[in-house]
């Protein structure tokens, strides 16, 4: 082992990366470490706990030179991150489900205060029925807070997205939520390429905010804002959010230049001449890819669109891909009670002013962590092929009626 290491260092340059088999949760922790976060404040909750454990360990061993602030709740965790970010440090937290909901007030605060905090949310169903398994209703209920949301498909993507998120957040001064499925990613190990931290430094320079809390140079933050000025602040948030689409694309392209891989804010998969396009997010995407490959082998004109960026919603990019299809099948692992699938709603809204649009089918499946298998996806494909138009606003798949 010693010999091997010596041999490596004898080369002209340090290795650009090393492979390690890690869980999605640890991919989050390594992503934060490689981003050289300076303050971590978090409260443990299944299925996020290992993220915090690992970060605490890394802080304790000195591998990560960050202040780890122990708190009594998620509400306080975000409050600590807000303070840390105002003071000009790179702040990070992670949570899930009930914890995210408890944080809600300060999730608004972080965005309205325009703080580039990054948070990982491990998707877990909201209780009751008390659950630790995945669905997206926790993160999606934070839709309107002004946070960017990026949904991940693999552990590699999780690690890379944490690093990219700081790049995006610090460009537009809005916080970013990195979202990953409970267990399917959080507790599943995959080989992950851990980039050399020097390369990450090249990609992500230290955080230097324009204004920060500084005793030598006093400023005021978060004070009373009368109606004469508050409206303009909200407008500026929307401007920044819209800018977020471009910032995320650029961060992703720059990432490719340094690390040789990227994801896009959306990813069309085998959409050439597709008559039917499935729309997915998170790990359902991987399952669907397999199904698409099988169907393409049988010469079926079917493709897939993965939505990685949900907020800001890249409507124009989405329309560009989907408008060519005859039918679109949106697979939602979430529900807005009284309407239907949330991604489906967004896509329908995106097509609102378009003259030509495909027939959009809204499927709901996998709520409360119910497995979504290739058979589930096949059922969705079969239903979409069989019907010209959706007969009802919600088509339930895998429901025991």
């Amino acid at each position: 082992m010693k010999h091997k290491r010596k041999k490596m260092s004898a080369g002209s340059a340090a290795p650009t990366s090393r492979k390690k088999v890690i869980s999605g949760n640890h991919a989050v922790s390594y992503g934060a470490m490689l981003s050289r976060v300076q303050v971590v404040s978090a409260y443990p909750i299944t299925p996020q706990t290992q993220i915090v454990e690992m970060l605490s360990k890394l802080c304790g061993s000195g591998q990560l030179k960050a202040k780890f602030i122990k708190v009594e709740s998620e509400h306080s965790a975000m409050a600590a991150c807000i303070g840390a970010s105002i003071a000009g440090t790179r702040a990070f937290t992670a949570t899930s489900s009930q914890g995210l909901a408890l944080m809600h007030e300060l999730i608004h605060w972080a965005a309205n205060a325009r703080l580039p905090i990054v948070m990982a949310d491990v998707n877990r169903a909201m209780g009751p029925g008390w659950s630790i398994w995945t669905d997206q209703n926790d993160s999606l209920s934070q839709r309107d807070t002004g946070w960017l949301q990026l949904y991940c498909e693999s552990n590699q993507e999780v690690l890379d997205t944490v690093i990219q998120s700081f790049k995006i957040a610090e460009k537009i001064y809005l916080p970013v939520m990195v979202v990953l499925d409970a267990f399917v990613l959080s507790h599943t190990s995959e080989p992950v390429d851990l980039p050399n931290i020097k390369l990450v430094d090249k990609y992500l320079p230290p955080f230097k905010p324009k204004i920060k809390l500084d005793l030598q140079d006093p400023h005021s933050f978060g004070g009373l804002t009368t109606p004469e000025h508050n409206f303009e602040l909200k407008y500026k948030m929307q401007v920044a959010m819209a800018e977020g689409v471009r910032a995320a694309k650029k961060a992703d392209q720059d990432f490719k230049k340094v690390f040789g891989r990227n994801y896009g804010i959306i990813e069309p998969y085998r959409c050439q001449e597709a008559e039917i396009i499935l729309v997915t997010s998170g790990t359902i995407t991987s399952t669907s890819r397999d199904v698409i490959d099988e169907l393409r082998k049988k010469k079926q004109k079917i493709g897939l669109l993965k939505i990685r960026m949900f907020r800001p919603f890249p409507a124009q990019d989405v329309i560009k891909v989907l408008r060519r299809a005859k039918k679109v099948a949106v697979i939602d692992r979430n529900i807005s009670y009284g309407v239907g699938g949330i991604f489906c709603q967004e896509i329908k809204a995106a097509f609102g002013n378009e003259k030509k649009q495909p027939s959009i089918f809204g499927f709901i499946t996998g709520l409360g962590g119910r497995d979504v298998t290739p058979e589930t996806i096949m059922e969705i494909v079969t239903h979409t092929k069989k019907n010209k138009y959706p007969k009802q606003p919600i088509i339930w798949i895998g429901l025991k009626k």
Partner: protein, 98 residues
């Protein structure tokens, strides 16, 4: 009234770049009741000066001189706390002031 700032001019996230800018905000316009000072009754204990949340009690040579009406919101804490016999400060509705 000073000119309101446009979206372009306002710093993001409610950050206020210059310290002490509350001086520019004349909270006296909020006032419904005005404090009236009775020099005869006043014992110059400066209790009002301590309690005033906006620092509006003007003191010279250890004596209460006047109230700074540019910032006085008319909260009446000074009148409430005044320990002088018969109260040296009374709150008078703005419309009834002399």
């Amino acid at each position: 009234m000073k000119k309101l700032k446009s979206a372009r001019e306002i710093p993001i996230g409610t950050a206020i770049e210059d310290a002490g800018c509350s001086r520019e905000y004349h909270t006296g316009s909020w006032r419904n009741f005005r404090p009236i000072h009775d020099k005869e009754k006043c014992v110059n204990c400066l209790t009002c000066w301590i309690y005033c949340p906006d620092g509006c009690v003007q003191v010279k040579d250890g004596k209460v001189v006047e109230f700074d009406l540019k910032y006085c919101k008319g909260c009446g804490i000074c009148a409430e706390e005044c320990p002088a016999k018969g109260k040296a400060i009374t709150m008078v509705p703005e419309e009834k002031k002399e």
